[in-house]
């Protein structure tokens, strides 16, 4: 039951419980204290009364003046109510611990033992008889009706004349105790009135981030990650750590998703590559034969003009097919010298006029000084393809950036433009052949990026496109000396 209770309630309730328990314990302690104080006050006042009484009773006991002794013991009990209710009893015992006089003579008959009164006074009488010293003492037991203060009545020379018992009913100090109790209850109530709402508010505030976190977790997979990330607790405590952990988890989830997507894309591209290579070979073989046949016929045949015209038409068509297939089938050209700085600068020379045509600014950074063991032809084609794409994408008076450098044993070429963002749909099929054909903005043959991708793959490199509303950057990493 408690385990199922939400922290939304659990924390505020716990705080409230702690506050309430604390308040109760404190007020309980205060109440106990008030009770003891009231009792102590009673005993103190009774001791003062007893002192006066025992002095006043001294001559009466000495001269056996019963009536004087009686008048003395009833004087402090002036209120008839007090006397009648038996709230305070004053008893004088003689030397032999027999009752001499008492404020209630009928209850305490003269010259009788205290035991005749009741069990409580009987026990008190035994204690008085068994006590050696002349020091005043207090007798109280649970279940007794009275708190007894017992003090000796001594003659001037210290001889014991008798004993004075002042028995005070608990009812006597109860009013004062109830007063104190009322005060304690009131202040406890006031404290609770102030603290409970604060506790509730504080508890709610503490539970809030946890609640948000829990809610966010249940939404994983149903709502966009960016949405979930917003409002996560960022504090330095455990909940903050939990929030950070959750954030990290979301991040990794995102990466994993991106990686999966990328893997799918490259697998697809590889399949397309294999397919195009296969088809290209299958087409190229008969194509070569057909072109040979046409060539042979042209050389040795005696065809009329009509036939020649048809054949040359066929030949042009077949040549176009071979061109297209050749473009699809990106083959490594073996004859290639090492990449030099000049090879890269050539690409700049080639693209500069086109950039100028659009009044675009070209920022160029080439950190390659020494020749690199990379096939120059392929690298130049990759760079040129990407540069031409960038120029095509850049806006009028836009900006182009190209930086080439050695980074961690790779050649890194980053080509950026501030043109329009590439659409999400297009990003999904960016490197596929003819993917751009429906996209009017892209233009070109539709094979540029396909070829670039194939070349990068052949060089065991990687190509990453990052397109944002502010611009698009293609980054190519080619391992050196692989």
């Amino acid at each position: 039951m408690l385990a199922n209770l939400k922290y939304h309630y659990k924390i505020p309730l716990s705080l409230i419980l702690v506050i309430a328990v604390t308040a109760l314990v404190v007020s309980g302690t205060l109440t106990l204290r008030a009770y003891q104080d009231a009792k102590r006050e009673l005993v103190t006042s009774v001791l003062g009364l007893g002192k006066v009484l025992s002095r006043t009773l001294r001559p009466a006991l000495l001269h056996d003046e019963v009536w004087q002794a009686f008048e003395t013991v009833i004087t402090p009990l002036d209120s008839r109510v007090e006397r009648r209710a038996g709230e305070r009893l004053i008893v004088v015992l003689d030397r032999r611990h027999q009752i001499y006089v008492a404020s209630s003579p009928e209850r305490f008959p003269m010259l009788e033992r205290l035991a005749v009164v009741d069990a409580e006074f009987g026990e008190l009488g035994r204690r008085i008889a068994g006590r050696g010293s002349d020091e005043p003492f207090t007798a109280e037991e649970t279940g007794w009706d009275y708190i007894h203060v017992v003090m000796p009545i001594l003659a001037q020379d210290g001889a014991r004349l008798g004993t004075l018992i002042v028995a005070s009913s608990r009812a006597l100090f109860l009013p004062q105790f109830y007063d104190a109790l009322g005060g304690v209850a009131l202040s406890t109530l006031a404290v609770l009135l102030v603290l409970l709402p604060i506790g509730w508010y504080w508890g709610r505030r503490m539970a809030e981030p946890l609640e948000y976190l829990a809610e966010s977790m249940t939404k994983v997979g149903r709502e966009p990650i960016e949405e979930l990330r917003r409002g996560l607790p960022r504090s330095g405590d455990e909940i903050g750590m939990l929030g950070a952990g959750f954030d990290r988890m979301l991040h990794e989830l995102e990466e994993k998703k991106a990686m999966q997507k990328q893997m799918l894309a490259s697998e697809r591209l590889a399949a397309i590559g294999r397919l195009t290579a296969g088809i290209s070979h299958e087409i190229n073989n008969p194509l070569g034969g057909m072109l040979n046949a046409i060539s042979t016929y042209k050389k040795h045949g005696s065809g009329d003009a009509m036939t020649m015209k048809t054949l040359s038409l066929l030949e042009r068509g077949l040549l176009q097919i071979r061109e297209t297939v050749g473009a699809l089938l990106v083959e490594a050209r073996l004859e290639s010298h090492a990449l030099t700085k000049q090879d890269i600068e050539d690409a700049r020379t080639l693209v500069t006029p086109e950039a100028q045509e659009k009044s675009a600014q070209l920022l160029w950074s080439n950190e390659i000084e020494e020749p690199l063991p990379l096939p120059s032809t392929q690298v130049r084609q990759i760079l040129l393809n990407l540069l031409l794409n960038a120029v095509a994408a850049v806006e009028h008076r836009g900006r182009l950036e190209c930086s080439i450098a050695r980074v961690n044993g790779s050649l890194r070429m980053a080509i950026a433009n501030d043109g329009r963002q590439i659409s999400r749909e297009r990003m999904d099929h960016l490197y596929e052949p003819f993917a751009a054909q429906n996209d009017e903005a892209a233009g070109g043959s539709g094979l540029g990026l396909w070829v670039t991708y194939q070349l990068v793959q052949q060089l065991n490199g990687s190509i990453v496109a990052d397109s944002r509303p502010t611009g698009t950057t293609f980054t190519v990493d080619l391992p050196i000396g692989a």
Binding site: E65, W67, F70, V101, P105, E106, M110, L111
Partner: protein, 280 residues
């Protein structure tokens, strides 16, 4: 010239007399034979006497009969309302002035009272082993009369009770019995009857179990050395109280019919008790 001188002397004498009168009041001792603890009553009685005697009057109270008796013996009191035994013992120093009249007679009784809850006690014999309250050892009704009565019943008062004590006033005997401090007590019957009028809630807690024979009422006595004029003036005043409204008002408060001259014979009963007691 001589006449003038004489007139001056007379004036001086009158003046001195006035001063002497003012400086020398009549001193009257009171004892608890009546309810002498009523200060406003005593003040009214004092005014009454001063108006009629033309002299200041002072009431003097002491803790016991004996102290008042001693003051009279030493001529330090002019009059005293005491009990009969002190008078009888000190006849050489005292003269009878007047005796109160209660219920038409100058007589009263001693009452044996018990708590109202005690329905059975009929006499001293029933109070064996109990606590007993007397008023004053110089009182007839509160000490002497019960002693004599017990002797007649062959009871030894000193062994009969578990404990006895003196309260030094009749009213306090009633209180002691009423609260249960004592299971029996001897009290002046006149005081008990007066209390029954003034404080019935007190006497209701007690019951009169036995009444003694009639005795002469506690008298008002004068020191033997008193000048006859003062004595007769006081006697006339007391006896005349019943003849004027103010005096009757005071008598009503005292629960008395009046005062009359008394003879020594009135106290024969008490005298007998005294003799009885001394013989015992």
């Amino acid at each position: 010239m001589r006449r003038v001188l004489r007139a001056l002397l007379i004036c001086a004498a009158l003046y001195c007399g006035g001063v002497a009168a003012a400086a020398d009041p009549i001193r009257i001792g009171t004892t608890p034979v009546f309810l002498d603890d009523q200060a406003s009553f005593l003040a009214a009685w004092q005014r009454y006497m001063e108006q009629r005697l033309g002299r200041p009057v002072r009431f003097v109270q002491r803790g016991s009969y004996r102290e008042i008796t001693d003051l009279v013996r030493q001529d330090r009191l002019d009059f005293a309302w005491v009990c009969s035994p002190p008078y009888l013992r000190n006849r050489d120093r005292m003269v009878l002035a007047a005796v109160p009249v209660h219920l038409g007679k100058p007589l009263y009784q001693s009452y044996l009272i018990v708590p109202a809850s005690d329905r059975s006690t009929a006499g001293f014999a029933d109070l064996r082993g109990k606590v007993y309250a007397y008023s004053d050892p110089d009182s007839n009704s509160g000490w002497l009369a019960p002693q004599a009565a017990m002797q007649l019943e062959r009871i030894d008062p000193s062994r009969h009770f578990k404990k006895t004590f003196f309260t030094w006033a009749h009213k306090k005997v009633v209180e002691a019995v009423a609260v249960g401090l004592a299971q029996g007590g001897s009290v002046d019957g006149y005081v008990w009857e007066t209390l029954a009028v003034l404080h019935p809630e007190l006497t209701q807690k007690t019951r009169v179990a036995w009444k003694s024979p009639w005795y002469g009422f506690p008298p008002i006595v004068a020191r033997r050395s008193i000048d006859p004029a003062t004595l007769s003036a006081m006697q006339e005043l007391l006896i005349g109280m019943k003849d004027d409204a103010e005096g009757r008002g005071l008598l009503k408060q005292l629960n008395l019919d009046g005062y009359e001259r008394a003879s020594e014979r009135l106290f024969d009963g008490v005298q007998q008790n005294l003799k009885f007691y001394q013989d015992f």
